[in-house]
Protein backbone atom coordinates (compact mmCIF):
# COMPACT_ATOMS: atom_id res chain seq x y z
CA UNK A 1 0.00 0.00 0.00
CA UNK A 2 1.24 3.46 -0.90
CA UNK A 3 1.82 5.46 2.25
CA UNK A 4 2.25 8.85 0.53
CA UNK A 5 -0.85 10.93 -0.15
CA UNK A 6 -1.97 11.55 -3.69
CA UNK A 7 -3.09 15.12 -3.00
CA UNK A 8 -3.07 17.82 -0.35
CA UNK A 9 -6.05 20.03 0.26
CA UNK A 10 -5.74 23.80 0.64
CA UNK A 11 -7.83 26.02 2.92
CA UNK A 12 -10.17 26.74 0.00
CA UNK A 13 -10.71 23.02 -0.63
CA UNK A 14 -11.45 22.45 3.04
CA UNK A 15 -13.90 25.38 3.01
CA UNK A 16 -15.73 23.85 0.03
CA UNK A 17 -16.05 20.52 1.83
CA UNK A 18 -17.15 22.22 5.07
CA UNK A 19 -19.82 24.26 3.22
CA UNK A 20 -21.16 21.01 1.77
CA UNK A 21 -21.47 19.37 5.19
CA UNK A 22 -23.20 22.45 6.63
CA UNK A 23 -25.57 22.60 3.64
CA UNK A 24 -26.78 19.00 3.88
CA UNK A 25 -27.29 19.34 7.64
CA UNK A 26 -29.09 22.67 7.16
CA UNK A 27 -31.44 21.15 4.57
CA UNK A 28 -32.12 18.19 6.87
CA UNK A 29 -33.10 20.39 9.79
CA UNK A 30 -35.12 22.75 7.57
CA UNK A 31 -37.15 19.74 6.36
CA UNK A 32 -37.73 18.30 9.84
CA UNK A 33 -40.93 20.32 10.25
CA UNK A 34 -42.37 18.80 7.05
CA UNK A 35 -41.75 15.17 8.13
CA UNK A 36 -44.44 14.73 10.77
CA UNK A 37 -46.63 11.83 9.63
CA UNK A 38 -45.57 8.35 8.53
CA UNK A 39 -46.35 9.20 4.90
CA UNK A 40 -44.17 12.34 5.16
CA UNK A 41 -41.24 10.63 6.87
CA UNK A 42 -41.18 7.39 4.88
CA UNK A 43 -42.55 8.55 1.52
CA UNK A 44 -41.77 12.29 1.48
CA UNK A 45 -45.49 13.06 1.53
CA UNK A 46 -45.81 11.55 -1.95
CA UNK A 47 -45.41 15.00 -3.48
CA UNK A 48 -42.19 14.80 -5.50
CA UNK A 49 -42.21 15.75 -9.17
CA UNK A 50 -41.00 13.27 -11.81
CA UNK A 51 -37.69 15.15 -12.13
CA UNK A 52 -36.95 15.23 -8.41
CA UNK A 53 -37.93 11.56 -7.94
CA UNK A 54 -35.99 10.57 -11.10
CA UNK A 55 -32.76 12.30 -10.07
CA UNK A 56 -33.01 10.95 -6.50
CA UNK A 57 -33.68 7.46 -7.94
CA UNK A 58 -30.41 7.68 -9.87
CA UNK A 59 -28.42 9.47 -7.19
CA UNK A 60 -29.22 6.88 -4.50
CA UNK A 61 -27.41 4.39 -6.74
CA UNK A 62 -24.38 6.65 -7.29
CA UNK A 63 -22.62 5.69 -4.07
CA UNK A 64 -18.89 5.95 -3.55
CA UNK A 65 -18.60 2.23 -4.30
CA UNK A 66 -20.27 2.90 -7.62
CA UNK A 67 -18.03 5.85 -8.55
CA UNK A 68 -14.72 4.50 -7.33
CA UNK A 69 -15.41 0.81 -7.90
CA UNK A 70 -16.59 1.08 -11.49
CA UNK A 71 -13.92 3.63 -12.42
CA UNK A 72 -11.44 1.06 -11.07
CA UNK A 73 -13.21 -1.74 -12.94
CA UNK A 74 -13.00 0.19 -16.20
CA UNK A 75 -9.23 0.53 -15.67
CA UNK A 76 -9.10 -3.22 -14.99
CA UNK A 77 -11.56 -4.52 -17.60
CA UNK A 78 -11.76 -1.64 -20.08
CA UNK A 79 -15.04 -0.55 -21.61
CA UNK A 80 -16.70 -3.88 -20.68
CA UNK A 81 -17.58 -2.20 -17.37
CA UNK A 82 -19.98 0.05 -19.30
CA UNK A 83 -22.45 -2.84 -19.59
CA UNK A 84 -23.40 -2.24 -15.93
CA UNK A 85 -24.61 1.24 -16.99
CA UNK A 86 -26.25 0.44 -20.31
CA UNK A 87 -27.70 -3.04 -20.87
CA UNK A 88 -27.37 -3.61 -17.12
CA UNK A 89 -29.58 -0.65 -16.25
CA UNK A 90 -31.53 1.08 -19.05
CA UNK A 91 -33.94 -1.74 -20.08
CA UNK A 92 -34.73 -2.41 -16.40
CA UNK A 93 -35.36 1.27 -15.63
CA UNK A 94 -37.65 1.60 -18.64
CA UNK A 95 -39.42 -1.66 -17.69
CA UNK A 96 -39.98 -0.32 -14.17
CA UNK A 97 -41.53 2.88 -15.50
CA UNK A 98 -43.64 1.37 -18.25
CA UNK A 99 -44.74 -2.00 -16.80
CA UNK A 100 -44.16 -2.39 -13.06
CA UNK A 101 -44.62 1.05 -11.53
CA UNK A 102 -48.42 1.13 -11.86
CA UNK A 103 -48.72 -2.00 -9.68
CA UNK A 104 -46.52 -0.55 -6.95
CA UNK A 105 -48.10 2.87 -7.09
CA UNK A 106 -51.77 1.94 -7.35
CA UNK A 107 -51.53 -0.61 -4.53
CA UNK A 108 -50.40 2.37 -2.36
CA UNK A 109 -47.68 0.23 -0.89
CA UNK A 110 -44.88 1.89 1.08
CA UNK A 111 -42.22 -0.66 0.07
CA UNK A 112 -41.45 -3.70 -2.11
CA UNK A 113 -41.94 -6.13 0.82
CA UNK A 114 -45.18 -4.18 1.37
CA UNK A 115 -46.31 -5.20 -2.14
CA UNK A 116 -45.36 -8.82 -1.38
CA UNK A 117 -47.47 -8.62 1.79
CA UNK A 118 -50.51 -7.61 -0.27
CA UNK A 119 -49.85 -10.12 -3.05
CA UNK A 120 -48.45 -13.13 -1.18
CA UNK A 121 -49.04 -12.55 2.53
CA UNK A 122 -46.82 -12.24 5.59
CA UNK A 123 -44.45 -15.17 5.03
CA UNK A 124 -43.02 -14.00 1.67
CA UNK A 125 -43.06 -10.36 2.78
CA UNK A 126 -41.27 -11.15 6.05
CA UNK A 127 -38.60 -13.21 4.27
CA UNK A 128 -38.01 -10.47 1.73
CA UNK A 129 -37.97 -7.73 4.42
CA UNK A 130 -35.40 -9.56 6.56
CA UNK A 131 -33.17 -10.31 3.53
CA UNK A 132 -33.43 -6.71 2.39
CA UNK A 133 -32.69 -5.24 5.83
CA UNK A 134 -29.59 -7.44 6.12
CA UNK A 135 -28.43 -6.56 2.60
CA UNK A 136 -28.95 -2.83 3.19
CA UNK A 137 -26.75 -2.58 6.26
CA UNK A 138 -24.09 -4.79 4.66
CA UNK A 139 -24.05 -2.65 1.51
CA UNK A 140 -24.06 0.53 3.49
CA UNK A 141 -21.05 -0.56 5.52
CA UNK A 142 -19.12 -1.60 2.44
CA UNK A 143 -19.89 1.73 0.79
CA UNK A 144 -18.64 3.50 3.90
CA UNK A 145 -15.45 1.48 4.03
CA UNK A 146 -14.71 2.06 0.33
CA UNK A 147 -14.92 5.81 0.81
CA UNK A 148 -12.84 5.84 4.00
CA UNK A 149 -10.05 3.86 2.32
CA UNK A 150 -9.90 6.34 -0.53
CA UNK A 151 -9.89 9.32 1.80
CA UNK A 152 -6.97 7.74 3.63
CA UNK A 153 -5.03 7.02 0.48
CA UNK A 154 -5.80 10.28 -1.29
CA UNK A 155 -5.74 12.77 1.53
CA UNK A 156 -4.20 10.89 4.44
CA UNK A 157 -7.40 11.16 6.49
CA UNK A 158 -7.83 8.69 9.30
CA UNK A 159 -10.24 5.86 8.34
CA UNK A 160 -12.16 6.10 11.64
CA UNK A 161 -12.51 9.87 11.28
CA UNK A 162 -13.94 9.58 7.73
CA UNK A 163 -16.35 6.81 8.69
CA UNK A 164 -17.71 8.48 11.81
CA UNK A 165 -17.96 12.11 10.62
CA UNK A 166 -19.67 11.25 7.31
CA UNK A 167 -21.98 8.68 8.86
CA UNK A 168 -23.08 10.90 11.72
CA UNK A 169 -23.86 13.66 9.22
CA UNK A 170 -25.99 11.31 7.11
CA UNK A 171 -27.68 9.93 10.23
CA UNK A 172 -28.59 13.40 11.50
CA UNK A 173 -30.09 14.69 8.29
CA UNK A 174 -32.04 11.52 7.48
CA UNK A 175 -33.31 11.14 11.06
CA UNK A 176 -34.42 14.79 10.98
CA UNK A 177 -36.22 14.99 7.65
CA UNK A 178 -36.75 11.33 6.67
CA UNK A 179 -37.17 10.62 2.98
CA UNK A 180 -37.78 14.35 2.30
CA UNK A 181 -34.29 15.06 3.50
CA UNK A 182 -32.73 12.05 1.77
CA UNK A 183 -34.32 12.99 -1.57
CA UNK A 184 -33.51 16.71 -1.39
CA UNK A 185 -29.91 15.97 -0.57
CA UNK A 186 -29.70 13.29 -3.26
CA UNK A 187 -30.73 15.85 -5.89
CA UNK A 188 -28.12 18.26 -4.54
CA UNK A 189 -25.53 15.48 -4.54
CA UNK A 190 -26.42 14.60 -8.13
CA UNK A 191 -25.38 18.10 -9.26
CA UNK A 192 -22.22 18.07 -7.15
CA UNK A 193 -21.16 14.67 -8.49
CA UNK A 194 -21.51 15.91 -12.07
CA UNK A 195 -19.87 19.29 -11.57
CA UNK A 196 -17.10 17.76 -9.47
CA UNK A 197 -16.23 14.88 -11.77
CA UNK A 198 -17.01 16.12 -15.30
CA UNK A 199 -13.73 18.00 -15.64
CA UNK A 200 -11.80 14.69 -15.61
CA UNK A 201 -13.08 13.42 -18.98
CA UNK A 202 -12.90 16.94 -20.46
CA UNK A 203 -9.24 17.36 -19.47
CA UNK A 204 -8.43 13.75 -20.30
CA UNK A 205 -9.77 14.03 -23.83
CA UNK A 206 -7.96 17.35 -24.36
CA UNK A 207 -4.69 15.79 -23.18
CA UNK A 208 -5.02 12.67 -25.35
CA UNK A 209 -6.35 14.49 -28.40
CA UNK A 210 -9.82 12.95 -28.32
CA UNK A 211 -11.18 9.38 -28.37
CA UNK A 212 -8.89 8.08 -31.12
CA UNK A 213 -5.86 9.59 -29.39
CA UNK A 214 -6.87 7.89 -26.15
CA UNK A 215 -7.30 4.51 -27.89
CA UNK A 216 -3.86 4.86 -29.52
CA UNK A 217 -2.23 5.61 -26.17
CA UNK A 218 -3.95 2.64 -24.49
CA UNK A 219 -2.76 0.33 -27.27
CA UNK A 220 0.77 1.66 -26.82
CA UNK A 221 0.69 1.29 -23.00
CA UNK A 222 -1.03 -2.12 -23.00
CA UNK A 223 -0.20 -3.82 -26.31
CA UNK A 224 -2.17 -6.88 -27.36
CA UNK A 225 -5.23 -6.16 -25.21
CA UNK A 226 -8.54 -4.71 -26.35
CA UNK A 227 -9.95 -2.27 -23.80
CA UNK A 228 -12.21 -0.19 -26.02
CA UNK A 229 -14.78 -2.55 -27.58
CA UNK A 230 -17.90 -3.41 -25.63
CA UNK A 231 -19.14 -6.52 -27.49
CA UNK A 232 -16.67 -7.76 -30.07
CA UNK A 233 -14.45 -9.51 -27.48
CA UNK A 234 -17.30 -11.32 -25.71
CA UNK A 235 -17.45 -14.34 -28.05
CA UNK A 236 -15.18 -16.44 -25.79
CA UNK A 237 -14.44 -16.29 -22.06
CA UNK A 238 -10.68 -16.09 -22.63
CA UNK A 239 -10.81 -13.26 -25.20
CA UNK A 240 -11.42 -10.43 -22.75
CA UNK A 241 -9.93 -9.26 -19.43
CA UNK A 242 -13.22 -9.91 -17.58
CA UNK A 243 -13.36 -13.63 -18.42
CA UNK A 244 -16.94 -13.05 -19.56
CA UNK A 245 -19.17 -14.44 -22.32
CA UNK A 246 -21.92 -12.39 -23.98
CA UNK A 247 -24.59 -14.75 -22.61
CA UNK A 248 -23.56 -13.78 -19.07
CA UNK A 249 -23.96 -10.08 -19.92
CA UNK A 250 -27.26 -10.44 -21.78
CA UNK A 251 -29.05 -13.05 -19.65
CA UNK A 252 -27.30 -12.85 -16.26
CA UNK A 253 -26.77 -9.09 -16.07
CA UNK A 254 -29.36 -7.65 -18.47
CA UNK A 255 -32.27 -10.01 -17.81
CA UNK A 256 -31.80 -10.92 -14.13
CA UNK A 257 -29.39 -8.88 -12.01
CA UNK A 258 -30.31 -5.48 -13.44
CA UNK A 259 -34.03 -6.22 -13.61
CA UNK A 260 -33.88 -7.42 -10.01
CA UNK A 261 -31.90 -4.42 -8.80
CA UNK A 262 -33.70 -1.61 -10.59
CA UNK A 263 -37.24 -2.94 -10.22
CA UNK A 264 -37.28 -4.66 -6.81
CA UNK A 265 -34.43 -3.19 -4.74
CA UNK A 266 -36.40 -0.96 -2.43
CA UNK A 267 -33.48 1.43 -1.99
CA UNK A 268 -34.11 2.83 -5.47
CA UNK A 269 -37.84 2.04 -5.82
CA UNK A 270 -38.62 4.02 -2.64
CA UNK A 271 -37.59 7.24 -4.41
CA UNK A 272 -40.10 6.63 -7.17
CA UNK A 273 -42.89 5.75 -4.73
CA UNK A 274 -42.50 9.30 -3.37
CA UNK A 275 -43.74 10.74 -6.71
CA UNK A 276 -46.85 12.92 -6.57
CA UNK A 277 -48.97 10.94 -9.06
CA UNK A 278 -48.88 7.83 -11.25
CA UNK A 279 -47.59 9.62 -14.32
CA UNK A 280 -44.69 11.17 -12.36
CA UNK A 281 -43.93 7.77 -10.84
CA UNK A 282 -43.78 6.23 -14.33
CA UNK A 283 -41.69 9.04 -15.79
CA UNK A 284 -39.18 9.19 -12.89
CA UNK A 285 -37.23 6.00 -13.74
CA UNK A 286 -37.30 6.90 -17.44
CA UNK A 287 -35.81 10.34 -16.70
CA UNK A 288 -33.26 8.49 -14.58
CA UNK A 289 -32.50 6.19 -17.53
CA UNK A 290 -31.43 9.09 -19.77
CA UNK A 291 -29.00 10.35 -17.13
CA UNK A 292 -27.80 6.82 -16.34
CA UNK A 293 -26.75 6.47 -19.97
CA UNK A 294 -24.46 9.48 -19.46
CA UNK A 295 -22.88 8.37 -16.16
CA UNK A 296 -20.10 6.40 -17.99
CA UNK A 297 -18.73 9.83 -18.97
CA UNK A 298 -17.72 10.46 -15.35
CA UNK A 299 -17.06 6.86 -14.26
CA UNK A 300 -15.98 4.63 -17.17
CA UNK A 301 -14.20 7.23 -19.31
CA UNK A 302 -11.89 8.36 -16.44
CA UNK A 303 -10.86 4.70 -15.98
CA UNK A 304 -10.05 4.38 -19.69
CA UNK A 305 -8.22 7.72 -19.65
CA UNK A 306 -6.23 6.40 -16.69
CA UNK A 307 -5.01 3.55 -18.91
CA UNK A 308 -3.92 6.15 -21.45
CA UNK A 309 -2.30 8.90 -19.40
CA UNK A 310 -1.19 7.66 -15.98
CA UNK A 311 2.57 7.19 -15.90
CA UNK A 312 2.38 4.16 -13.58
CA UNK A 313 0.34 0.94 -13.86
CA UNK A 314 -2.32 0.23 -11.23
CA UNK A 315 -2.80 -3.15 -9.53
CA UNK A 316 -5.42 -5.21 -7.66
CA UNK A 317 -6.04 -4.26 -4.02
CA UNK A 318 -4.71 -7.60 -2.80
CA UNK A 319 -0.95 -7.85 -3.15
CA UNK A 320 -0.15 -4.13 -3.47
CA UNK A 321 3.47 -3.27 -2.81
CA UNK A 322 4.96 -0.04 -1.45
CA UNK A 323 4.64 2.81 -3.92
CA UNK A 324 1.89 1.14 -5.93
CA UNK A 325 -1.73 2.23 -6.32
CA UNK A 326 -4.81 0.05 -6.72
CA UNK A 327 -7.41 0.07 -9.52
CA UNK A 328 -9.90 1.71 -7.15
CA UNK A 329 -7.66 4.76 -6.87
CA UNK A 330 -7.84 5.64 -10.55
CA UNK A 331 -10.54 8.31 -10.10
CA UNK A 332 -8.74 10.10 -7.22
CA UNK A 333 -5.47 9.88 -9.17
CA UNK A 334 -7.12 11.54 -12.14
CA UNK A 335 -8.65 14.21 -9.89
CA UNK A 336 -5.21 15.00 -8.45
CA UNK A 337 -3.69 15.01 -11.95
CA UNK A 338 -5.91 17.75 -13.33
CA UNK A 339 -7.51 19.68 -10.49
CA UNK A 340 -5.81 22.44 -8.50
CA UNK A 341 -7.04 24.28 -5.41
CA UNK A 342 -10.80 24.83 -5.33
CA UNK A 343 -11.60 22.37 -8.09
CA UNK A 344 -9.92 19.59 -6.11
CA UNK A 345 -12.15 20.44 -3.15
CA UNK A 346 -15.15 20.23 -5.49
CA UNK A 347 -13.92 16.85 -6.79
CA UNK A 348 -13.45 15.46 -3.29
CA UNK A 349 -16.89 16.86 -2.39
CA UNK A 350 -18.27 14.89 -5.36
CA UNK A 351 -16.82 11.66 -3.90
CA UNK A 352 -18.16 12.47 -0.43
CA UNK A 353 -21.56 13.39 -1.95
CA UNK A 354 -21.61 10.04 -3.75
CA UNK A 355 -20.94 8.26 -0.51
CA UNK A 356 -23.62 10.19 1.36
CA UNK A 357 -26.23 9.66 -1.37
CA UNK A 358 -25.66 5.90 -1.27
CA UNK A 359 -25.57 5.83 2.51
CA UNK A 360 -28.76 7.91 2.88
CA UNK A 361 -30.48 5.61 0.39
CA UNK A 362 -29.55 2.58 2.45
CA UNK A 363 -30.48 3.94 5.86
CA UNK A 364 -33.79 5.50 4.79
CA UNK A 365 -34.82 2.26 3.03
CA UNK A 366 -33.69 0.24 6.06
CA UNK A 367 -35.76 2.42 8.41
CA UNK A 368 -38.88 2.01 6.25
CA UNK A 369 -38.59 -1.75 5.81
CA UNK A 370 -37.79 -2.33 9.47
CA UNK A 371 -40.65 -0.12 10.71
CA UNK A 372 -43.38 -1.10 8.23
CA UNK A 373 -42.46 -4.63 7.20
CA UNK A 374 -40.87 -6.15 10.31
CA UNK A 375 -41.75 -4.07 13.41
CA UNK A 376 -45.38 -3.30 12.58
CA UNK A 377 -46.58 -6.71 11.32
CA UNK A 378 -44.56 -8.90 13.68
CA UNK A 379 -43.83 -6.87 16.82
CA UNK A 380 -46.34 -4.06 17.38
CA UNK A 381 -49.38 -4.13 15.15
CA UNK A 382 -51.47 -1.23 16.37
CA UNK A 383 -49.75 1.94 17.44
CA UNK A 384 -50.34 5.61 16.63
CA UNK A 385 -48.71 6.96 13.46
CA UNK A 386 -46.40 9.14 15.57
CA UNK A 387 -45.01 6.01 17.22
CA UNK A 388 -43.94 4.58 13.84
CA UNK A 389 -42.36 7.91 12.82
CA UNK A 390 -40.39 7.91 16.04
CA UNK A 391 -39.39 4.29 15.39
CA UNK A 392 -38.24 5.33 11.87
CA UNK A 393 -36.05 8.10 13.31
CA UNK A 394 -34.45 5.76 15.83
CA UNK A 395 -34.02 3.06 13.21
CA UNK A 396 -32.15 5.46 10.99
CA UNK A 397 -29.59 5.94 13.74
CA UNK A 398 -29.53 2.25 14.73
CA UNK A 399 -29.16 1.18 11.06
CA UNK A 400 -26.26 3.58 10.84
CA UNK A 401 -24.49 2.13 13.86
CA UNK A 402 -24.92 -1.41 12.46
CA UNK A 403 -23.57 -0.15 9.12
CA UNK A 404 -20.50 1.23 10.84
CA UNK A 405 -20.00 -2.24 12.33
CA UNK A 406 -20.27 -3.84 8.89
CA UNK A 407 -17.79 -1.26 7.53
CA UNK A 408 -15.20 -2.66 9.90
CA UNK A 409 -16.31 -6.19 8.93
CA UNK A 410 -15.77 -5.31 5.25
CA UNK A 411 -12.11 -4.60 6.00
CA UNK A 412 -11.59 -8.34 6.38
CA UNK A 413 -12.73 -9.15 2.84
CA UNK A 414 -10.16 -9.25 0.06
CA UNK A 415 -12.41 -8.27 -2.85
CA UNK A 416 -15.23 -5.85 -2.11
CA UNK A 417 -16.79 -5.85 -5.58
CA UNK A 418 -17.01 -9.64 -5.67
CA UNK A 419 -18.70 -9.56 -2.27
CA UNK A 420 -21.22 -6.94 -3.39
CA UNK A 421 -22.17 -8.80 -6.55
CA UNK A 422 -22.52 -11.98 -4.47
CA UNK A 423 -24.98 -10.16 -2.17
CA UNK A 424 -27.03 -9.07 -5.19
CA UNK A 425 -27.14 -12.60 -6.53
CA UNK A 426 -28.32 -13.93 -3.13
CA UNK A 427 -31.12 -11.49 -2.40
CA UNK A 428 -32.05 -9.47 -5.48
CA UNK A 429 -31.95 -11.96 -8.36
CA UNK A 430 -34.49 -14.43 -6.85
CA UNK A 431 -36.82 -11.60 -5.82
CA UNK A 432 -37.34 -10.30 -9.34
CA UNK A 433 -38.90 -13.54 -10.63
CA UNK A 434 -41.25 -13.78 -7.67
CA UNK A 435 -42.42 -10.14 -7.90
CA UNK A 436 -42.86 -10.23 -11.68
CA UNK A 437 -44.79 -13.52 -11.69
CA UNK A 438 -47.03 -12.15 -8.96
CA UNK A 439 -47.75 -9.01 -10.99
CA UNK A 440 -48.45 -10.76 -14.28
CA UNK A 441 -50.15 -14.06 -13.40
CA UNK A 442 -53.13 -14.38 -11.06
CA UNK A 443 -52.63 -18.18 -10.74
CA UNK A 444 -49.48 -17.67 -8.65
CA UNK A 445 -50.30 -18.47 -5.01
CA UNK A 446 -48.96 -17.14 -1.67
CA UNK A 447 -47.28 -20.51 -1.01
CA UNK A 448 -45.70 -20.43 -4.47
CA UNK A 449 -44.33 -16.94 -3.83
CA UNK A 450 -42.82 -17.84 -0.48
CA UNK A 451 -41.24 -21.15 -1.51
CA UNK A 452 -39.98 -19.72 -4.83
CA UNK A 453 -38.27 -16.84 -3.03
CA UNK A 454 -36.76 -19.15 -0.43
CA UNK A 455 -35.57 -21.67 -3.05
CA UNK A 456 -34.01 -18.93 -5.21
CA UNK A 457 -32.11 -17.37 -2.29
CA UNK A 458 -31.04 -20.73 -0.83
CA UNK A 459 -29.85 -22.07 -4.20
CA UNK A 460 -27.84 -18.91 -4.85
CA UNK A 461 -26.07 -19.15 -1.48
CA UNK A 462 -25.53 -22.90 -2.04
CA UNK A 463 -23.88 -22.28 -5.44
CA UNK A 464 -21.63 -19.60 -3.91
CA UNK A 465 -20.52 -21.94 -1.10
CA UNK A 466 -20.08 -24.86 -3.51
CA UNK A 467 -17.61 -22.95 -5.71
CA UNK A 468 -15.71 -21.75 -2.64
CA UNK A 469 -15.40 -25.34 -1.36
CA UNK A 470 -14.96 -27.05 -4.74
CA UNK A 471 -13.46 -24.59 -7.28
CA UNK A 472 -13.96 -27.13 -10.07
CA UNK A 473 -17.72 -26.46 -9.81
CA UNK A 474 -17.05 -23.09 -11.49
CA UNK A 475 -17.04 -24.71 -14.91
CA UNK A 476 -20.51 -26.14 -14.19
CA UNK A 477 -22.11 -23.00 -12.79
CA UNK A 478 -20.42 -20.39 -15.00
CA UNK A 479 -20.18 -22.72 -18.03
CA UNK A 480 -16.41 -22.32 -18.35
CA UNK A 481 -13.30 -22.87 -16.21
CA UNK A 482 -12.04 -19.54 -17.63
CA UNK A 483 -14.92 -17.57 -16.09
CA UNK A 484 -13.87 -14.99 -13.49
CA UNK A 485 -15.63 -13.73 -10.36
CA UNK A 486 -18.02 -11.29 -12.07
CA UNK A 487 -18.98 -13.89 -14.69
CA UNK A 488 -19.68 -16.42 -11.93
CA UNK A 489 -21.95 -13.87 -10.21
CA UNK A 490 -23.94 -13.30 -13.41
CA UNK A 491 -24.55 -17.02 -14.02
CA UNK A 492 -25.33 -17.72 -10.35
CA UNK A 493 -27.95 -14.96 -10.48
CA UNK A 494 -29.39 -16.46 -13.66
CA UNK A 495 -29.68 -20.00 -12.29
CA UNK A 496 -31.06 -18.92 -8.91
CA UNK A 497 -33.70 -16.86 -10.65
CA UNK A 498 -34.63 -19.79 -12.91
CA UNK A 499 -34.89 -22.06 -9.85
CA UNK A 500 -36.99 -19.47 -8.00
CA UNK A 501 -39.38 -19.09 -10.94
CA UNK A 502 -39.68 -22.87 -11.44
CA UNK A 503 -40.45 -23.47 -7.75
CA UNK A 504 -42.91 -20.55 -7.65
CA UNK A 505 -44.82 -21.97 -10.63
CA UNK A 506 -44.57 -25.60 -9.46
CA UNK A 507 -45.87 -24.90 -5.94
CA UNK A 508 -48.57 -22.57 -7.29
CA UNK A 509 -49.95 -25.32 -9.51
CA UNK A 510 -50.70 -27.50 -6.47
CA UNK A 511 -51.88 -24.84 -4.02
CA UNK A 512 -54.92 -22.61 -3.85
CA UNK A 513 -54.74 -19.17 -5.50
CA UNK A 514 -56.22 -16.00 -4.03
CA UNK A 515 -59.63 -14.87 -5.19
CA UNK A 516 -60.23 -12.15 -7.77
CA UNK A 517 -61.37 -9.76 -5.09
CA UNK A 518 -58.18 -10.30 -3.07
CA UNK A 519 -56.01 -9.60 -6.11
CA UNK A 520 -57.76 -6.38 -7.15
CA UNK A 521 -55.17 -3.75 -8.07
CA UNK A 522 -52.24 -6.15 -7.65
CA UNK A 523 -52.18 -8.30 -10.79
CA UNK A 524 -52.28 -7.55 -14.50
CA UNK A 525 -55.81 -7.89 -15.84
CA UNK A 526 -57.41 -7.31 -12.42
CA UNK A 527 -55.91 -3.88 -11.88
CA UNK A 528 -57.92 -0.81 -12.81
CA UNK A 529 -55.56 2.08 -13.28
CA UNK A 530 -56.85 5.62 -13.40
CA UNK A 531 -56.98 6.83 -16.99
CA UNK A 532 -54.01 9.03 -17.71
CA UNK A 533 -54.71 11.96 -19.97
CA UNK A 534 -51.86 12.44 -22.37
CA UNK A 535 -53.05 14.52 -25.25
CA UNK A 536 -49.72 14.38 -27.04
CA UNK A 537 -47.17 11.72 -27.82
CA UNK A 538 -44.60 13.59 -25.72
CA UNK A 539 -46.70 13.11 -22.60
CA UNK A 540 -46.58 9.33 -22.74
CA UNK A 541 -44.00 7.41 -20.64
CA UNK A 542 -43.92 4.70 -23.30
CA UNK A 543 -42.69 7.21 -25.90
CA UNK A 544 -39.80 8.36 -23.71
CA UNK A 545 -39.04 4.75 -22.72
CA UNK A 546 -38.84 3.76 -26.40
CA UNK A 547 -36.56 6.73 -27.09
CA UNK A 548 -34.24 5.65 -24.26
CA UNK A 549 -34.11 2.11 -25.69
CA UNK A 550 -33.35 3.44 -29.17
CA UNK A 551 -30.49 5.54 -27.80
CA UNK A 552 -29.20 2.49 -25.93
CA UNK A 553 -29.08 0.50 -29.18
CA UNK A 554 -27.22 3.30 -30.96
CA UNK A 555 -24.62 3.39 -28.17
CA UNK A 556 -24.10 -0.40 -28.48
CA UNK A 557 -23.54 0.01 -32.20
CA UNK A 558 -21.07 2.90 -31.74
CA UNK A 559 -18.98 1.09 -29.12
CA UNK A 560 -19.43 -2.46 -30.50
Amino acid sequence: MNTGHIATLTTLDMAIIAIYFLSVLGIGFYLKKFAKSGEDFFLAGREMTAWVAGLAFLSANLGSLELLGWAGSSYQYGILAVHWYWIGAIPAMVFLGVVMMPFYYISKTHSVPGYLQLRYGRAASGLSAISFAAMTVLMSGINMYAMAVVMKTVLGWDIDFSIWVSSITVGLYVAAGGLYSAIFNEVLQFFLIWFGALLIPIFGLIETGGWSGMVARIQKNFPGQDYTHAWSTLGHFQDNPMGMHWTGIVFGLGAIISMGYWTTDFLVVQRVLAAKDLRSARMAPIIGAFFKMLVPLIVILPGLLGLAVLPEHLFPESGLQAGQHSYNEVLPLMLARYLGPGLLGLGVTALVAGFMAGMAGNVSAFATVWTYDIYRPFLRKRAPDAHYVSMGRWCTLIGLVISIGTAYLAMSFASIMDYVQALFSFFIAPLFGTVLLGMLWKRITPAGGFWGLLAGTASSIAMFVMVKLYPSMLSVIALSPNAKALAEDMYRALWSSVIGVAVTIGVSMVTKPKTHAELEGLVYGIAHWPRERHPTLFGKPVFWGSLAMAMLLILQWIFW
Binding site: V187, F191, I206, V309, G342
Partner: protein, 69 residues
Protein backbone atom coordinates in the same frame (compact mmCIF):
# COMPACT_ATOMS: atom_id res chain seq x y z
CA UNK B 1 -53.17 27.61 10.72
CA UNK B 2 -51.38 28.59 7.53
CA UNK B 3 -49.40 25.67 6.06
CA UNK B 4 -45.77 26.46 5.37
CA UNK B 5 -44.76 26.10 1.73
CA UNK B 6 -41.90 23.70 1.02
CA UNK B 7 -39.06 25.48 -0.79
CA UNK B 8 -38.17 23.74 -4.07
CA UNK B 9 -34.99 21.63 -4.02
CA UNK B 10 -33.75 23.56 -7.08
CA UNK B 11 -33.42 26.69 -4.96
CA UNK B 12 -30.96 24.92 -2.64
CA UNK B 13 -29.09 23.52 -5.64
CA UNK B 14 -28.77 27.03 -7.08
CA UNK B 15 -27.53 28.53 -3.82
CA UNK B 16 -24.81 25.94 -3.29
CA UNK B 17 -23.61 25.98 -6.90
CA UNK B 18 -23.56 29.78 -6.84
CA UNK B 19 -21.45 29.94 -3.68
CA UNK B 20 -19.04 27.32 -5.06
CA UNK B 21 -18.87 29.11 -8.39
CA UNK B 22 -17.91 32.45 -6.82
CA UNK B 23 -15.24 30.83 -4.61
CA UNK B 24 -13.69 28.82 -7.44
CA UNK B 25 -13.86 31.69 -9.93
CA UNK B 26 -12.15 34.02 -7.45
CA UNK B 27 -9.43 31.45 -6.72
CA UNK B 28 -8.88 31.02 -10.47
CA UNK B 29 -8.33 34.76 -10.89
CA UNK B 30 -6.01 34.86 -7.86
CA UNK B 31 -3.79 32.08 -9.22
CA UNK B 32 -3.86 33.35 -12.84
CA UNK B 33 -0.21 34.40 -12.88
CA UNK B 34 1.02 31.36 -10.94
CA UNK B 35 -1.18 28.38 -11.78
CA UNK B 36 -0.85 25.14 -9.75
CA UNK B 37 1.45 22.31 -10.84
CA UNK B 38 -1.29 20.20 -12.41
CA UNK B 39 -1.58 18.90 -15.96
CA UNK B 40 -3.19 21.48 -18.31
CA UNK B 41 -3.10 24.16 -15.59
CA UNK B 42 -2.46 26.70 -18.37
CA UNK B 43 -6.13 26.35 -19.37
CA UNK B 44 -7.16 28.12 -16.14
CA UNK B 45 -10.06 25.77 -15.53
CA UNK B 46 -11.09 27.36 -12.20
CA UNK B 47 -11.95 30.59 -14.03
CA UNK B 48 -14.29 29.17 -16.65
CA UNK B 49 -15.62 26.30 -14.54
CA UNK B 50 -16.22 28.71 -11.64
CA UNK B 51 -17.98 31.11 -14.04
CA UNK B 52 -20.18 28.27 -15.33
CA UNK B 53 -21.10 27.20 -11.78
CA UNK B 54 -21.92 30.82 -10.89
CA UNK B 55 -24.21 31.25 -13.90
CA UNK B 56 -26.01 27.91 -13.37
CA UNK B 57 -26.33 28.65 -9.64
CA UNK B 58 -27.70 32.16 -10.31
CA UNK B 59 -30.26 30.87 -12.82
CA UNK B 60 -31.59 28.21 -10.42
CA UNK B 61 -31.58 30.56 -7.41
CA UNK B 62 -33.48 33.30 -9.22
CA UNK B 63 -35.91 31.01 -11.03
CA UNK B 64 -36.87 29.07 -7.88
CA UNK B 65 -36.50 31.78 -5.22
CA UNK B 66 -39.19 31.95 -2.53
CA UNK B 67 -41.89 34.37 -3.58
CA UNK B 68 -44.33 36.12 -1.27
CA UNK B 69 -48.03 35.77 -2.09
Amino acid sequence: MKKEILLPVWFFVGLLLGVYGILIFASGLAEWSSPPHTVLAELHAPVWWGALLTVVGAVYTIAFRPRGR
